[in-house]
Amino acid sequence: MKALLSGNEAIARGAYEAGIEVATGYPGTPSSEILQNVSTYKTIYSEWSVNEKVAMDAAAGAAYSGRRALVTTKQVGMNVLSDSLFYTAYTGLEAGLVVLTADDPGMFSSQNEQDNRHYAKLGKFPMLEPADSQECKDFIVRGIEISEQFDTPVVVRTTMRTSHSKSVVELGGDPAQAGDVGPFTRNMQKYNCMCLWSKKRHPILEQRLLDLAEFAETYPDNFISWGDRDLGIIASGVVYEYARQVFPKASFLKLGMVYPLPQKKIKEFADGVKKLLVIEELDPFIEEQVRAMGIDAIGKALFPPCDELLPQTLQRIARENGLLPPVEKTLPALDTPDLPGRSPVLCAGCPHRSTFYLLNKMKLPVAGDIGCYNLGTLPPFNAQHTMGSMGASIGVLHGMGKSGLPEPAVCTIGDGTFFHAGIPPLLNMVHNHGKGTVIIMDNRTTAMTGHQDHPGNNYTLMGKPTKEVDIETLVRALGVEKVMSVDAFDVKAMGQALKECTAYDGTAVLIAKGPCIFVSRNPQPAYNVDTDKCVACGTCAKAGCPATIKIDEVNPKTKMKKAGIDPVLCIGCDICRQICPTGAIRKPE
């Protein structure tokens, strides 16, 4: 049977066909849809873990217990889980373990463009890289086979394009399940990384890499397709598909396993072509290894290390360097050369709006964090002055507080991010006499990645009811004495609470409570503007709501356009009515 699947849907299907029985992860673009799809297979236990490291440890525990396991993460989540992934490379496992990292070349939704292929070399485990949805499915199955054959974790690396593109997949059959497992294997010399024992495991790890390199020589997903011998191209992942399109006649060595590399096969290919290119998105990971073999391959001398390496870029570079005949294609000069940009914005009805409206007015320094609220960085708010990694805002605030700044500092962090990595740094502030205001923007979901559950919700990924963790109780238990919970849709109350917290000499926590519109799903009738009362002062526009628009009618004195409200977008959150200085914005009768 065939189906049109995204790479992420195909990975979930692969998990099913591979007989994986435990799947964990933390949401992050471009990986988030994998576990959401896994949760539709009832033979698999799946969960959104509190963060990637916990997900990795839980998967290791399942694989130690004899259950095949999968962990999913975005590229920067690998930084969080790598500490645990690395010990599993030393210990090996009782059942197959695959870690899926979805990288984000082009940084569509990430803070950096790191190339996670380097992790394979650093952590000494094999890495597979699928090029389309069929391979996404197949490589999970093969990953489990390799994991069990070589007693190693296997990492499968996708990119945004492989994860989010859809292509046709031939579905396989139903899997065999492990059945009963246990009792738990008590093999401490293998599974307890005490230095004495771990030292003995390291040579095993090195020998395993040599065995895997030999295995890679005949591994069927590393294959040569001979074409024109004048040009040979080594490529992997979706870039292989791009290169096939741009250089339809060339010879190809397609690598399904990007670490360790099949050196004999690479030598055979290099010897068989006149000119050898290594085409890679981001870093010269394969190129450096090929050149270290003494082979004269061309890669980053031509192809840039930044951004997606799309077919149009390949074509342009190939033409500029005589690899393809030149073709002149230019768009005719347009009447409208400078297009207004269109950045993402906080949705109409978003509970984060009041916080950023007020922070902009108060002109305080703000340490930001990762989530939808990072849109508070953009105009008209300009109200998050730093942002780096999950949970960083609280630690950065602490450092700001210890630096003797002339003004009180605050940080903004969402409920999901707080559970992920915000608890230890808040504890640190309490213990070390920190000063500053932590604003926890509690919208009851992991919004940016598609509304996944977290410990603040009363349900799990598999739809089971569970205990809802109360953030205020948790924060008080950490030792914070100044804690205020405020309705995020009450602008006046939010303003007063911000004043009170920022005047406090110590660690203060302000919990701004308001559900994401995708959680509450409770739209109210659209508001409207009394144009006789509107003086076109522009205050409502400072709330950055997409439903607040300009109309053609102007204030005759200032010639400024008056305000209007888009009845399709407005969901009646009331924030613009509260901030309008002339009372022109009305709730409908």
Partner: protein, 196 residues
């Protein structure tokens, strides 16, 4: 246009239903017997930002991403976003532009001006041989739900392509939420009528 390959680009604003439309278009390609690939941008970009979907039908598709100057059909869900992707269309290509304006925040705040409609239209005609506007948003509002404008536009596209309408109807029915299936099937028929 090439005999046996169709390259489509859908340009819109996050929240307009671009991904659903591209899913439907890709699925129709499969049912018509083509190899099909599609690629959209998800994540932070969907919160009211620019969204673009690439869809191809061909005997064999390699890259899921389309090249500039190589798209047969540019389907614009919003004026400015259609204009933004003009470099993708082939000179003998077809632009199907939904009559819809959504001001970006830069325009609302007064930092930038939204281009005038007749100048945008003139640019469309410079870029592509065939240009057609469609009142998808107006039609959807008349049907009582602005969100179904994407299906109105797909209805128009299906008339232009001349494919078997029953395949489109079946895919639409499967892909949209059950409680709005009838509304969307009506939207599809209205879209077909708008182009006739």
């Amino acid at each position: 246009m090439s005999e046996d390959s169709y390259k489509f680009l859908i340009a819109g604003v996050g929240g307009q239903g671009t991904v659903l439309a591209s899913d439907i278009l890709a699925e129709v390609g499969i049912r018509l017997g083509y190899d099909t690939k599609k690629s959209d941008i998800l994540g932070l970009a969907v919160r009211g930002g620019s969204v673009v979907s690439h869809i191809q039908w061909a005997p064999k598709v390699h890259s899921p991403v389309l090249d500039e100057y190589d798209v047969d059909y540019l389907i614009g869900f919003e004026w400015l976003e259609t204009l933004r992707r003009l470099s993708y269309i082939k000179p003998d290509g077809f632009i199907l532009a939904n009559d819809c304006r959504i001001d970006p925040m830069t325009v609302t705040s007064g930092e930038a001006n939204y281009p005038e409609k007749d100048r945008m239209m003139a640019d469309f005609k410079k870029a592509a041989q065939h240009v057609q506007t469609i009142a998808g948003t107006r039609t959807a509002l008349d049907l009582g739900n602005v969100l179904c404008f994407n299906i109105v536009v797909l209805g128009g596209l299906s008339t232009i392509l001349g494919n078997e309408p029953d395949i489109w109807r079946a895919v639409i029915k499967e892909r949209v939420p059950a409680k709005v299936a009838d509304l969307n099937l009506t939207a599809y028929e209205k879209g077909r009528e708008l182009i006739n």
